[in-house]
Symmetry: C2
């Protein structure tokens, strides 16, 4: 059988697909470069042509995972009809919509990323997401401040705090998914909805908006996210 | 030479001391159980008598590091003359005092804990600190709410958010320490002071207090912390 020649970007995407599948199945720490090349049907030389190390592959994978979700939310950020508050609420609404649309995949991803043996993977994905999100959120806060809607002493520092604060959902989501897995869907949905509501209030207060202005929560969201099949 | 018999709590404390020294020098991931027993002059059997695994030792070490700082701050929390706001400000003042008093040790600890190869160690210390701090902060917020000083919709959820938000200092402190190491003390002190001030404002706003009520920052603190010898 002649060797199939593929363009490098296809090959590296395939390697990332294989690695993602293995990391999700066994955990990052339990997957070796040998496992990945075996799964991808490539030589070690070919692997190292694309990635200097397993770490470098992890970094590329994290960036890809982070970029995928941002690409979906981009239209909202460029919508000229929205002011700062409209953009921020549209961002939360878009993120909820994506989470429900892709619920089974997202639940599995969260479940895997929050496993202790995947701490390094989670950390990288979070880093990559932060790097992508920082200029976007900073810009959003600056524009909202210039429009007189947000009271923000320092858009960049506040963007950092917002991105930090969202990480409470690492633990909250993990607890909710565990409850859901044990059949306590009501309790799981209540926890997730409640924390989203309180997170929205925290954002309101940080921007000096009245409680309930930012719509991080939405009735029925948590249940839809936790129950959407398969 | 007769074998020295020591009580188990002394032995396990010595093992923790050895492990801490090695983790700080080489990183957690680069230290093996063999390294630790060689340094401590103990057998493998003795090690496993005290700790089921390197992970279990890490957990014990994290709890000890976290508990040490809380013990120092305990008097403030039990001071009956303080109201919620007084307690919170005293907690920040106490934490600054400790950081300056132990500055060389704290700087080295932070520098080591924030190294990428010590992610697991950092994570465990943070977890242990959270577990200790959660009931304390929740109680502080609940009392302050009952006194009519803080506006807190949910003391437990807000305590979680506060503990999450403080982690912006992982990155801020790392950047400040790097700048200081490169000789840019002015810039390092400005960054740290500024972020402490903004963090204080964030806490004010989350509790619906006027900006500047919570004294997380204090003029001269960052410089004192960064410069205190040796």
């Amino acid at each position: 059988m002649p060797r199939v020649i593929k363009p490098p970007e296809i090959r590296s995407a395939e390697l990332l697909d294989c690695a993602q599948r293995l990391f999700f199945e066994r955990g990052y720490d339990n997957t070796t470069v040998n496992d990945i090349i075996r799964e991808a049907g490539l030589s070690k030389g070919a692997f190292y042509y694309y990635f200097a190390s397993k770490e470098a592959l992890l970094e590329a994978l994290a960036t890809r995972l982070a970029r995928d979700s941002f690409t979906e939310l981009q239209p909202v950020l460029n919508d000229p009809s929205l002011d700062g508050l409209g953009r921020l609420n549209a961002l939360f609404a878009g993120s909820r919509r994506l989470n429900v649309e892709l619920a089974p995949h997202m639940r599995r991803t969260f479940f895997v990323l929050f496993r202790p043996e995947n701490l390094a993977l989670f950390h990288r994905v979070d880093q990559a997401a932060r790097e992508l999100a920082m200029p976007i959120i900073t810009d959003l806060l600056r524009k909202g401040r210039d429009e007189g809607i947000f009271d923000v002493p320092d858009p960049e520092a506040f963007a950092e705090m917002f991105l930090q604060l969202r990480l409470i959902f690492r633990d909250v989501m993990h607890r909710a998914l565990l409850k859901a897995e044990q059949g306590n869907i009501d309790e799981a949905a209540r926890l997730l909805d409640d924390r989203l509501r309180l997170y929205g209030i925290a954002i309101d207060r940080l921007l000096k908006l009245p409680d309930g202005t930012i719509e991080a929560a939405q009735p029925g969201f948590a249940r839809a996210f936790l129950e959407a099949g398969p």
